[in-house]
Each structure stands twice: as C-alpha cells, then as structure tokens.
C-alpha cells in the first residue's frame, strides 16, 4: 500500500482489505505471487491489488494477457510445484473459458494424486450487479462453484472478514475461490455499500473458513444471506424492528465448507427462515439452506420458509429492469409479511 493509516479507528474498503492481506502474506512468504488481467500497475479494476506492483514488482505481480485458461492453468501448475499463487478471474461470468482448469485441475488434482499433490492457490473473482453491466458482467454464480467438490468457496460481506478470509485462503493448502461482490468494494461507480467499509486491524489475522457469523441477533425470524445480501437483510431487520419484529441475520461468509450448524441453531430459536441470495433462484444457495434446515429433524418451523433470490432470467441491462430483479430490503420485508399471512 502506498499509504497506511495508523489510527486505531481506521476503516478499510473490501478492496483495500484484500490488498493489505495479500501484501502481508507476500512479505511473509516468498512463494506467494499474483497473476491476472490489469492487476499490476492499475491495481485491479476493482482496486483489490492496489500498491502490490509498486512494492513487489513485475515478477511477483504479473499482468497477464486475456487468456484465463493459460494463466489459471499456469497457477495450478505453480501451486502443484510448491508456489502459492493468487489469480484473478476479473468477472466470475468469464468462468466459461477456463472452467476445465478450475474444476478438473485446480479442484481435483489433490484428490487424483491421493493427496500427494497439493494445490494451494486462491482464485479471486468479482460477482454481482446493480450498476447496469448486463448479463455477462453481473452474475453471482455462487452455487455454480459451491456445487463442485474440491474447492473451498468464501464470500465476505465486509472488510474485516475480507482481510481475515483472504489471509486464511492464502495460507490454506486447498484451492479457495474468493468471491467478492462489486458493490462492496468501495468503488463508487459500482454502487457503494457503506456498511462494508468497517474497522480493520492492521496486524495480520485469519477468519476461519467454514464459519458463519450472526451479524445481528433476533428471535422472531432468521434471515440468511451472503455478500451484498447481508446488507439488504440488515436494512430489512431495521425496518422490521419498527414493526416490533426481531430478525436475526446470519452471514454465511463461507459456502464451502457450509456452516449448517449456525443456520440450524438460529432457525431452531426463531422458527422462521427467509434466505436472500443474488444468485439465481433455482438450484442455488437458497434451496441448499432451506434443505439443510428441513432435513434436520430437530427444527420446528412455524411457517414455510421463503427465498428472496434472483429470478431465473438473464440479467437485464436496462436499469429499471435490473433493479426490479435484484433482491432488496423491501422484498425481504414483503416476504415476511406474506409469510405471516400464510401461516
């Protein structure tokens, strides 16, 4: 980083938190290096590699051509040979051109070799919409990656978790997919979520991969979400509080491993569940969470669970159409009212 802030009260955006975690690990471990498109002098189109090129130079912070198959494949090779690469797939939507490297090589080489080959790499990738970047630059695709065995998947909702999860991901001996939502990066043109910019310790620390957080406690209703959706849930919980309803918000933080225990424990207390997900409605995170609760015999639901997720349509470019389709606090509150009417 070119500038640091020493006050105890300092806050970071998720972009800065990711860069700080990466820089600290690069200082501590010469095997860590970064590859991707525009991650060098530009500092990443979403700001998450700012300062790294200046500090570590072109050999450890490597700008690549637009060739995801090549550089993600190269990272798998480097990781298998003892390095700890961090690579960026600029938009998760581009996974189609490099998926063989990701889910046949990165995710499975450790298994195929009977554990003899480790693949300690981080694949970081941006997700989400809301700023009219159309259907090939706005998807979340959380479930697409979480569905395939062999990779850990994390999705931070704030800068504190982003730094701790990034440090944990770099130190992990398994491949970790680090999915960051563009609206949380603190880059104005992507739509800024103020709640994501929070106090972050300067010293290095980890947030355990596979552990959800209760972002707000409540006893009438459990809202489960991840990434930007957590902030919609927190706004909905504040609105519901005015109606005398106490909503708990569970931030999954990690999809693989999935902390089902925290979700189940919360729903066991509240008896009501709404899952909020900016990924597509069908075959996704929302269905997995509801199934995880439903298949657990100890859970007694007071009402049928609901989901506020992205409709099963390609993401529209037109701003009014896109905003219509996105999850929001209003939709969460409406889903709760509907739940009460039905039960």
């Amino acid at each position: 980083m070119t500038t640091t802030t020493k006050s105890a009260s300092r806050k970071l955006t998720i972009a800065r938190a990711m860069a700080e975690a990466t820089a600290q690990e690069m200082r501590a471990d010469p095997r860590v290096f970064v590859m991707g498109e525009d991650i060098g002098p530009l500092g990443g189109v979403f700001g998450n590699t700012r300062g790294l090129y200046d500090e570590f130079g072109a050999e450890r912070v490597r700008d690549t051509p637009i060739s995801e198959t090549a550089f993600i494949g190269a990272a798998v090779g480097a990781a298998s040979d003892g390095m700890r690469p961090i690579v960026e797939l600029m938009f998760v939507d581009f996974f189609g051109v490099c998926m063989d490297a990701i889910y046949n090589l990165m995710a499975k080489n450790s298994y195929f070799s009977g554990g003899k080959v480790k693949v300690p790499m981080v694949l970081m990738t941006s997700t989400g919409g809301g700023y009219s970047d159309a259907g090939q630059h706005s998807q979340c695709l959380y479930a697409t990656f979480a569905h395939l065995p062999g990779m850990k998947v994390v999705v931070p909702s704030n800068a504190h978790d982003a730094k701790g999860l990034m440090t944990a991901a770099i130190r992990d001996d398994n491949p970790v997919v680090f999915m960051y939502h563009k609206s949380l990066q603190g880059m104005g043109w992507l739509g800024t979520e103020k709640g994501a910019t929070v106090a972050v310790p300067e010293e290095s620390y980890t947030v355990e991969i596979g552990k959800a957080a209760v972002a707000r406690e409540g006893h009438d209703l459990t809202l489960v979400s991840l990434g930007a959706g957590v902030h919609h849930c927190l706004r909905a919980a504040r609105a519901l509080e005015e109606e005398g309803v106490s909503a708990e918000v569970v931030d999954l933080r990690s999809l693989v491993p999935l902390d089902r225990d925290t979700v189940r424990a919360s729903v066991a207390r509240t008896g009501r569940l709404i899952v909020v997900d900016e990924d597509y409605h069908s075959y996704g995170v929302s269905g997995e969470i509801i199934a995880s609760v439903a298949e657990h015999a100890a859970t007694r639901l007071k009402a049928a669970p609901k989901r506020v997720a992205y409709p099963d349509i390609p993401i529209p470019f037109a701003p009014t159409m896109e905003q219509w389709a996105l999850p929001s606090a209003d939709k969460i509150v409406a889903a709760f009212h509907q739940m009460l009417n039905e039960s």
């Binding site: 802030t5 009260s9 880059m187 104005g188 910019t197």
Partner: protein, 78 residues
C-alpha cells in the same frame, strides 16, 4: 486550531469533478498527520486524501457527495 481538509489542486489532471467513495475514519475520530482518511473517485480512478495535520476529524462532505478541487471535505481540530 482548526485546519480544513480540502481536495488538493494537483490530485488529478484537469478540472473534472469527483465523488467521495469512502471515508476511512469515523466522524469525530482522532487522526494523525499523514493518515489516509478518504477516497475520491474521478472517472473510475481512485485518489487518496490524507490528513494534513493531526487532530479530531469533523466530516463536512458525505460519501457519494460530488466534490471539486479545493472543496473542503472535513475539518481537523487540534
């Protein structure tokens, strides 16, 4: 003594306006000289604003506010 934090005239080329994208300290916090306090975005490029002196920060312009070079965005009370 009160010191104003203004957007430096040489922070970026030209006279384009920018937007405050993040305050990196809370209103009312004590900051030290040289601390990074805010980010301003101009045409998708992000610029950093540092505290010119140490003091207690009082934010004058909020996140998402449009600012020009010379705009006072905060005050520092030493």
């Amino acid at each position: 003594m009160t010191t104003e934090i203004t957007v430096p005239e040489d922070l970026w080329e030209g006279d384009t306006e920018g937007v405050i994208t993040a305050w990196l300290v809370d209103d009312g916090a004590e900051v030290a000289q040289g601390d990074l306090v805010a980010e301003v975005m101009v045409e998708k490029a992000q610029y950093e604003i540092e505290a010119p002196v140490s003091g207690k920060l009082s934010i004058a312009r909020a996140e998402d506010d449009v600012v020009a070079k010379g705009t006072t965005i905060a005050r520092l009370e030493a």
